[in-house]
């Protein structure tokens, strides 16, 4: 210490101060974190806060946003969730019975009323997300299994790159590609004419099928990759052990391999569910008026419908769904996102 002090002795106070700051353990943190923290706070967090505040506002007579003391309240959320002249309990019951009614094939007539169109739209969007996730899993799991375990080792990385490559190709162009395939008289639609129940040359555009196909097409790589990563790490001697102990191939897969691949399945499901539920472009381009999702509803409120507070409330309800999905993931999945 004495030595060091004598070396320092020749320095000016300014240089000594700089040295002290440079040696301070927090300097690196402050210097490294400040630009990003500034940017993310000002251009991400504050805009979200503004939007959150707007969601408590009210629309004026000319489409302007009223945020005065008399206007701020939960009215947009009430408008979203609770039908007019209904109590909150009625709204909940109507929502549940509406969901049950749309699942069972016959008319039950459980409740006196229906949930608001906004709630119906939200549930429909979640259903789109869930169906896309399940279809991607059903198609993606065998493929991931093939790449990780069955395919010759030297082709593995090539097969993986081929799964990733479409992800790098332009999103809009790929949606357009689906549009071309489903259009009237397209190559695919004419080829499908060989099927007994399908009339050649018709169009599948602007249907629910088109939206689901588009969503699956775009997001399936996000299912295959995590599942592949999971299966690739499994020690397959465990499968042999299970079969030595009397399990057949199916049982060994169901009881040993599949549970071990669960982290990948859960991660893939969340990676597919979140973007598909919040989709905007795909229903806009492939779906008709009947196939709109909550993303289109939000955009409409800021565009033609001109009700910014309701659109803001819708945005935060969509964010709530995402957060719920992530919470479920962290409860049942393993490890961090990404």
């Amino acid at each position: 210490m004495g030595n060091e002090h004598s070396v320092d002795g020749g320095e000016s106070p300014v240089r000594r101060a700089i040295r002290t700051v440079r040696r301070n353990q927090w300097t690196g943190l402050v210097v490294n974190i400040t630009p990003s923290a500034f940017w993310l706070t000002v251009f991400f967090l504050i805009p979200l806060g503004v939007m959150f505040y707007y969601s408590f506002g009210q629309r004026g007579a000319f489409g302007e946003v009223l945020l005065g003391p008399g206007n701020v309240g939960l009215q947009q959320y009430k408008l979203f969730f609770v039908p007019q002249d209904a109590s909150i309990l009625q709204a909940i019951w109507w929502t549940i019975s509406w969901m049950v009614d749309s699942v069972v094939p016959f008319e039950l007539g459980l409740a006196a009323g229906e949930p608001t169109p906004y709630v119906q739209l939200t549930i429909k969007s979640i259903a789109y997300g869930l169906v896309t996730t399940l279809v991607s899993l059903a198609i993606g799991y065998p493929t991931a299994y093939y790449i990780a375990h069955v395919a010759p080792a030297r082709y593995q990385s090539l097969l993986l790159v081929l799964v990733i490559l479409p992800f790098w190709a332009s999103y809009l162009v790929r949606v357009y590609a689906i549009q071309i395939l489903l259009a009237r008289n397209s190559i695919l639609m004419n080829a499908l004419g060989v099927l007994p129940f399908f009339e050649a040359g018709q169009s599948l555009m602007n249907t629910r099928f088109a939206v689901l196909l588009g969503l699956t097409y775009i997001w399936i790589p996000f299912m295959i990759l995590p599942v592949y990563a999971s299966i690739e790490q499994i020690d397959f001697t465990l499968k042999e052990a299970a079969m030595d102990l009397g399990a057949d191939r199916f049982e060994a897969f169901r009881r040993v391999i599949f549970p071990l691949s669960m982290p990948g399945v859960v991660a893939g499901s969340i990676l597919v569910f979140i973007p598909t539920t919040g989709a905007y472009v795909i229903p806009e381009l492939l779906g008709g008026t009947q196939s709109q999702m909550i993303g289109n509803f939000i955009a409409n409120q800021f565009g033609s419908a001109g009700n910014w507070p309701l659109g803001s409330a819708g945005s935060f309800i969509l964010m709530g769904i995402m957060l719920a999905a992530i919470a479920i993931y962290q409860r049942y999945g393993e490890g961090d996102l990404a």
Binding site: V173, R184, I187, L188
Partner: protein, 284 residues
């Protein structure tokens, strides 16, 4: 159970199931082939149709390169104006370039802060860093639109850059942080012991090691910025980027001109990715 009884129903089911699974590898290979077809046939059809000798339909009528020739010569083909397309391409590249420059620097610094330091509220801050990746783009785009409105900023390519940097930082930070996790910090200590200061240590020891991570993160940020439609759509005002130009064309319907633009976008992006793969190895 006597020998004469033969296998029970359940046993027979299990044997049949086992036989199916024995041939499972063939079925799996076939299924994987179908998935690859599913991924690539639509792309191939777009490229094929851009050479289709038909003005309206999506039906194949023979090979031609007239659409490419006409567009490259500057003629407007079925509402697609090549000058407008080129202008939007220039804007796209400008925005992506600025986004990559800023978010590569800020994102790498952020990754260091997250990797090297513990501070109160770190968990929340990490959540904030992940949020621009996870949050639906439409929410991010519209909230920025509201914000720019309130602050009174004119919408244009500068607001698009600001928005793209906000998510670019996150992508770079996540990729670089992953690379830093496997970094041996004793190397830095050794450099310092040998007399290097902080900047020299970074320049000669740390950066060469994390360089692939920074490049991969930058490529990801470039691709995300270049390809982004939803966020840009809300914050760019009257200007066009290539995806927005393309979207407005697609809205008006399928046409040979759109097919040509689509094919050019596809081929150029895939070539860039292939080049990146070739230089740096896998780029995700």
């Amino acid at each position: 159970m006597s020998l004469a009884d033969g296998p029970s129903f359940l046993q027979r089911v299990r044997r049949a199931r086992s036989r199916v699974f024995e041939y499972g590898t063939v079925a799996l290979a076939f299924q994987a082939l179908l998935v690859y077809l599913f991924l690539y046939v639509p792309i191939a059809v777009v490229i094929a149709l851009s050479f289709n000798d038909s003005r309206h339909a999506v039906v194949w009528q023979g090979l031609t390169t007239e659409w490419y020739e006409a567009l490259l010569a500057g003629e407007t083909i079925a509402r697609v104006n090549p000058d407008a397309a080129f202008q939007s391409l220039v804007y796209s590249i400008e925005i992506a370039a600025v986004t990559v420059l800023v978010s590569a620097v800020f994102g790498t610094m952020l990754a260091f802060a997250l990797d090297r330091y513990d501070f109160p509220g770190k968990g929340l801050f990490v959540g904030l860093v992940y949020m621009p990746i996870i949050i639906p783009s439409i929410v991010m785009g519209i909230s920025l639109l509201l914000f720019f409105n309130i602050v009174g900023m004119t919408l244009g390519i500068q607001t698009a850059m600001i928005a793209h940097i906000a998510f670019g930082i996150s992508f770079v930070a996540v990729v670089v942080a992953a690379r830093l996790q496997s970094f041996d910090q004793t190397l830095e200590e050794a450099a310092m012991d040998l007399g290097a200061n902080e900047l020299e240590t970074f320049r000669y020891v740390t950066f060469p090691v994390i360089k692939p991570g920074v490049i991969a993160g930058s490529l990801l940020a470039f691709a995300m910025s270049f390809d982004d439609f939803v966020v840009t759509f809300f914050v760019i005002g009257r200007d066009n980027t290539l995806p927005i130009f393309f979207f407005s064309m697609v809205r008006q319907g399928i046409s040979p001109g759109v097919n040509v633009i689509a094919s050019l976008i596809l081929i150029v992006t895939l070539l860039v990715v292939a080049l990146a793969q070739w230089i740096e190895g896998p780029v995700w």
